[in-house]
């Protein structure tokens, strides 16, 4: 089980939001996920993990670098080839479940199989049933539409749907992000079980508890990927003395304005003397802090 399911080579993604405004969402990210892996990518919001997920899911293209899925270079594939590719190679699980609202639970799972045209209606129904049993979906709810299912049940349907066409890997974007604790636990257990049956799973999350369950944790910060948590991140605060001085001055000016405001209010009898005293004291304390 050492052949790669997903390989990203020096992938960069730059969004151009307007004239002269560029956002570098990914910077030279290289990543390899082997078949059978259970990988989590964790990082704060804005770190680029959603962008990486979209690129790994062929929903978006990198600005530079190459993406290989199951040994196939998908970087340059046409939109219609990508659609076919996605259908057979990638399963998606989203934070907000994203089931098709006017299809029942079992029909949602059948849809990818019918779209692939590889299954007959009967086969698709039977396989959907097996998948839903596998993820622990209650059998008396098979005909319910998503709006009549709990969050946990919807996410189980979503996982079953992701597995429908035997994908190379499943991409899960915050799969427990919208669930209560017990539903989250069930979903995590389900994912772990499916991985133990040989399914490759990539999870993107900022939930460290979920990440701990996986075999491999990758950390994302500011568009870069790390094998270990970059601890120096918070300590490293670049601000030199002169900038600090300028900020101090601004703070003092602002406090001066506050003091004038309070005095005017008091003079015009708009606030009581106690309130005036209290406010004055707080301003003085702040001034002291700046001057220290």
């Amino acid at each position: 089980m050492s052949s790669p399911a997903l390989e990203c080579v020096n992938v960069s993604k730059t969004y151009i939001l307007g004239r002269d405004i560029e956002v570098k969402a990914l910077r030279n990210v290289s990543l390899r996920v082997d078949k059978g892996d259970f990988v989590s990518i964790i990082g704060p919001s804005g770190s680029g993990k959603s962008t990486l997920l979209h690129i790994a899911g062929t929903l978006d293209r990198p600005t530079s670098g190459r993406v290989l899925i199951d040994g196939v270079d998908v970087t340059e594939l046409s939109e219609s080839k990508l659609t076919a590719f996605r259908k057979n190679k990638i399963g998606f699980v989203f934070q907000f479940f994203n089931l098709i609202t006017n299809l029942s639970a079992i029909e949602n799972v059948m849809l990818p199989m019918l779209l692939s045209r590889r299954y007959t209606l009967r086969e698709a129904r039977l396989k959907a049933l097996y998948l839903l049993r596998l993820v622990g979906f209650p059998e008396d709810r098979l005909r319910n539409t998503p709006n009549r299912l709990s969050g946990g049940q919807q996410q189980k349907v979503a996982i079953a749907r992701a597995l429908a066409n035997n994908p190379t890997y499943i991409l899960a974007d915050e799969p427990t992000g919208n669930l209560d604790v017990s539903s989250s636990a069930e979903i995590i257990a389900t994912l772990k079980l499916l991985n133990s049956f040989g399914n490759t799973i990539i999870i993107v999350t900022h939930n460290i508890e979920l990440a701990r369950v996986t075999n491999k944790i990758l950390f994302m910060r500011d568009g870069c990927i790390y094998e270990e948590a970059p601890r120096s991140f918070l300590e490293h605060m670049p601000m030199d003395e002169s900038t600090l001085d300028a900020k101090r001055k601004i703070q003092l000016e602002m406090l001066k304005l506050e003091r004038e405001n309070i005095e005017r209010l008091f003079k015009n009898r708009l606030i009581s003397s106690e309130a005036y005293e209290k406010a004055l004291k707080s301003i003085e304390e702040k001034e002291l802090k700046v001057k220290q």
Binding site: L59, S80, T83, A84, F92, F94, N98, T101, L111, L114
Partner: protein, 386 residues
């Protein structure tokens, strides 16, 4: 195949999920189609009626006039009746005057021919060529308070003091001469002898109606007349029918242009509905695409929605329209004008099919643009959409 059925089912459930909007959009289409279909039915009736009238009057007859619209000498009548194949040549005098101070159209023909011009529904025909007797349309007689046996005063340019005629029979209205020539004025039929005096047309006729022995001889007779008398203008039932058709075509064009506007309005309604439906589903379109639905399949889903709306509206509209056409023909038209218009109500599959096809085509076209846009939505953007 199963995939297509699945996508159609998806579209139907989507429409079913928002019944009010679906219903209102279909209603919008239905109104447009109903107006179109009902007008189509009235137009069908009108055509049938005109054809029928011309056929009753002319059948396989031929109308002969002078090319310069001058009266024709009565002598020509005798000459024409000698042409081989001609059974009979009937002189006709037409003119205008006043009957009891109302505008009237005067029709004078030999009394043995009078019934082929006017269908008598009450009373009898004119008894003798010299009798001061006349026939009047029932409707105008009723309006003027005239009944069989009453005396009416007919005034013309040449009989300014007026001549009194006894009304002996009431005729049906709505004949060709009534509708096409006289308009809302009534047609008073008298004997040709009296007509000559009233309209000062002694020894002449305005036109000559020629009856042939054998309907298949019409063209041969027409050619013979044209050859022998180049000054005469000859028209057959076919010519008159063609003339009438071209008038009817103009009326149709106006009518259908007006109802085309309502179809356009319905189309815009459908476009709005499909656009809204897509707006609400952007995220879902993203999901569909991410699980491998192709742009063509997305296009198919929303076009199907549009076509179902068209089918629904077209069916409703066609049924409404046929009902409306029935009401207009049977209830509105006979009462709307001073003279009665009786059109036949013809129930054929044609208006129904036309209505349905136009509705489907209109809704297909108007949902094409929003559906194309939907199929082009990029999944990443759609998934980000709240």
């Amino acid at each position: 195949m199963i995939t297509l059925l699945y996508l159609i089912r998806y579209a139907m459930r989507d429409l079913w999920g928002k019944k009010v909007r679906t219903g209102l959009t279909a209603l919008g289409i239905a109104i447009g189609i109903a107006s179109l279909v009902s007008l189509f039915i009235v137009s069908l009736g009108l055509r049938a009626r005109v054809g029928e009238s011309i056929n009753t009057l002319l059948g396989s007859s031929i109308i002969v006039r002078m090319r310069n619209s001058e009266p024709i000498s009565i002598y020509v009548v005798h000459l024409l009746s000698n042409i081989p194949g001609v059974k009979k040549a009937v002189p006709v005098i037409i003119g205008s005057g006043l009957v009891e101070s109302n505008n009237a159209f005067i029709l004078a023909v030999p009394i043995d021919e009078i019934q082929s011009f006017q269908t008598i529904i009450n009373g009898s025909s004119i008894s003798s060529p010299r009798a001061l007797e006349c026939l009047m349309p029932k409707e105008s007689a009723t309006r003027m308070g005239i009944s069989i046996g009453s005396t009416v005063r007919v005034v013309t340019q040449y009989a300014q003091e007026g001549v009194s005629f006894k009304v002996v029979g009431l005729s049906e209205v709505g004949g060709l001469l009534q509708a096409a020539l006289a308009g809302p004025a009534s047609v008073v039929a008298v004997s040709i002898e009296q007509g000559e005096k009233l309209l000062n047309k002694r020894g002449v006729a305005d036109m000559i109606l020629i009856r042939v022995n054998d309907p298949s001889n019409v063209s041969r007779v027409v050619n013979a007349i044209k050859l022998t008398y180049p000054n005469l203008a000859v028209s057959t039932e076919e010519d008159v029918l063609n003339q009438a058709q071209s008038i009817l075509n103009t009326i149709d064009a106006v009518i259908f242009t007006i109802s085309a506007i309502s179809i356009v309005v319905a189309g815009v309604g459908t476009m709005n509905s499909v656009t809204m439906s897509i707006r609400e589903k952007i995220r879902e379109i993203g999901v569909l695409k991410s699980i491998g639905t192709s742009p063509a399949q997305i296009l198919f889903i929303f076009l199907t929605e549009g076509v179902i709306l068209g089918l629904l509206g077209g069916f409703l509209g066609s049924v409404f329209g046929i009902g409306l056409g029935y009401v207009v023909i049977k209830q509105v038209l006979p009462r709307m004008f001073r003279f009665e218009i009786n059109l036949p109500f013809i129930l054929s599959p044609e208006p129904f099919i036309n209505g349905l096809v136009i509705a489907i085509a209109a809704s297909f076209l108007s949902s094409l643009l929003p559906s194309l846009n939907a199929s082009r939505i990029r999944p990443v953007e759609a998934l980000r959409y709240e």
